[in-house]
């Protein structure tokens, strides 16, 4: 089943600027882990922001789990799309503990189910002993696990990860990649990972797409392409 369907997506940050993403189409099936590669400025992170609803495309449509979330006539707010996201710098709320951070996304869940879900998530990312700590009391790798647990807790239809390894040391990166793959598989999560490191893709993803920056002079002739 198709979880994300993107058709003829076009986006630019200002009216006069050449599009960051131009006439881009793509789809993802349930349980797939897709890597998004590309140079800086090629529109990788923008693609995630468009899927999550943090930006509005100029043209094109996006459908998530069979439900249109944006097209020529429609725009569904980010909070109503059922999309989870792990930000590049994790964006853990500094005034909340680990537990509170995870609990934050469970407001639509029945009250009695919330605490067990937090526990389940902490177990999934092996952070059971760190529930009462604040984000600044955790290492980079631990923060990333919490961000992942927080994003997975509300059971999103798709998980988006924006350069999740960019803030980690090389040694740590390798072990965390393996853990991440394990967690995603356990959760049977459909996931899109933006990265600039091919090793990330090889270690975790089923396949990848590569985004190329448009050359302004070429205008409409420039094209995005995807490699499977």
């Amino acid at each position: 089943m198709k979880v994300v369907e993107i058709q003829n997506l076009t986006f630019s940050y200002s009216r006069s600027a050449s599009p960051t993403i131009d006439d881009f189409s793509f789809s993802m099936n349930t349980g797939e882990i897709v890597g998004v590669l590309g140079q800086s400025g090629s529109g990788k992170s923008t693609l995630l922001r468009l899927i999550s609803g943090l930006e509005m495309p100029k043209k094109g449509s996006i459908t998530i789990a069979g439900k249109p979330v944006v097209n020529d006539r429609l725009f569904v707010q980010p909070e109503d799309r059922g999309v989870g996201m792990v930000f590049q710098d994790y964006a853990l709320f500094p005034h909340m503990t680990v537990k509170e951070n995870i609990l934050f996304g469970l407001s639509r869940m029945a009250k009695k189910d919330r605490k067990p879900r937090v526990k389940e998530m902490l177990e999934l990312v092996q952070m059971e002993d760190f529930g009462d700590r604040y984000p600044h009391e955790l290492s980079g790798g631990q923060q990333q696990r919490v961000a992942l647990a927080r994003a997975l807790a509300p059971k999103p239809k798709v998980l988006l990860m924006d350069e999740p390894f960019s803030n980690l040391d090389a040694d740590l990166k390798e072990s965390i990649r393996e853990d991440l793959l394990l967690i995603l598989k356990k959760a049977n999560m459909t996931c899109m990972i933006v990265t600039h490191d091919r090793n990330d893709v090889e270690a975790i993803c089923n396949y990848s797409i590569t985004m190329c920056p448009l050359i302004a002079e070429q205008g409409a002739a420039g094209e995005k392409f995807q490699t499977l």
Partner: protein, 547 residues
Amino acid sequence: MRTNLKRFLQKDFNSWWMISIIGAAVILLPILFIFFSLFQEPNENWFQIREYLLKTYVANTVILVLLTGIFTAILGVSLAWLVAAYDFPLKRFFRWGLLLPLAIPPYIAAYTYKTMFSYTGVIQTTLRNQFNYQIDPEILSISSLRGAIFIFTFFLFPYVYIMTKAFLESQSSSFFENARLLGRKPISIFVKVVLPLSRPAIVAGAVLVIYEVLSDYGVTSYFGIHTISTAIFQTWFGMYDIDSAMRLAAWLMVIILGMFILERLLRQRRRYHLNNKSRPLVPMKLKGFKAAAAFAYCSIVFLIGFLIPLIQLIAWAKLTFSKVWDETFITLFFQTIFVAAIATVLILFLSVVVANVCRRHTTGSYILAKLTTTGYSIPGAIIAIGVLAMFITLDKWLAPLYSYIGLGDAPLILSLSLVMLIVGYVIRFMATGFNAVEVGYEKIGTKFSEASRLLGFGMTKTFFKVDLPLIKGALVSGFILTFVEICKELPLALLLRPFNFDTLATKTHQYAKDELIHEASISSLMIIGISILSVVVFQMIDKKVQR
């Protein structure tokens, strides 16, 4: 087109936008009222004003603005450079001590210095009694354009000082070290490197000074100088001619609009300056004569701009305390606090909403932010006239309703109430609250609220759960800075207060106007006490930035 609009509405149009637009409209309406007055048929008074008085008003205003601008720039920049680039005795104290003149509103400084320099004042009395020396009173008279420039310079220079100091301290030392390696002496470095480099900061500070001077009523009216602002008061209260007062206000608005555009053009250049923070400026230790000279310069400015008037006011307060201090003073104090608190809460509410909407940097949000903060550049007298015109019109519209609920035919309900003064304060000081809140939002960025939105919370819940706890500090500083500005404010309070309603500022002005300067000292000291709060906040922000 229609589908795009629908999508836009679905994405961005919510209660936050609606409140922002209503807020901007309320702020803009009085200003529009004034502009419309330019297109109405002028009355006879206006021809007389234009023929015989306008030239003097404009000339005095321009001289005041220009010379104060130049002198505050000289004083502010030289002190900022001394404090940022050198170490000398008591420099750590002067870093924040030189902000203290901001705590004394220029109108209080004017009353104090005029009396100190008068025949019965401390200076002439001391010269006569201790040194048997009779000085020509003309030499010491400061009730003139010259005196007003002196007062404005010594009590407003901290605007230039604070901006230039912050700018210089954020610059890389390599500019100045390079200049030294290229053989330049300190004065040459100051003229050739420091001044051009800090131009945007100097201009930004000087523009704030100019706005204050244009807005002033207390100093100029007390010294008997005719400026456009004092003329607005005279036409309103002396001739009871609101139409001509509005026309004068419109002319002043035109001057300010010109200034506003000029400032924007000059600020654009700031982008061309490098902001390399790699190695900040390391202060150089001064020794011997140079250290003493730097210390003396800072001390003299501090004495004139803060300590001398403060000691004089305390001395007068001791003399008059038993005579003046009574229950009405406590009522006055609480009245001031009450009205300032209501206006500040409204300002912060609107600031939080508008600044949140403006976090998405679109053209629409930029215009919205500019519109809601225009009030700061508009003198209190203009805002007062606009607000009054707006409320009289509103009362006319509401007349049938008043009559229906038994308040009589065509009474003035809103235009005689405290609401008018509060609206005036909100328009005038919106920028102070907004800027503080905006800094808070900028510091936390958008990532936390974006994360919250993706975890299922809408804009309002996100604000209360995520943004509010994170911008608490900015809200507190915004509250204090705005509150203090309102407590000090004079022209708006004089023009828009209801009958029999006084604030500390209006009471001080009233005493001074009745030549009861000694009696004015207690309310003046209360205002200074409240104002020192804002200096403490500046100091705390500065410390945070340094850390």
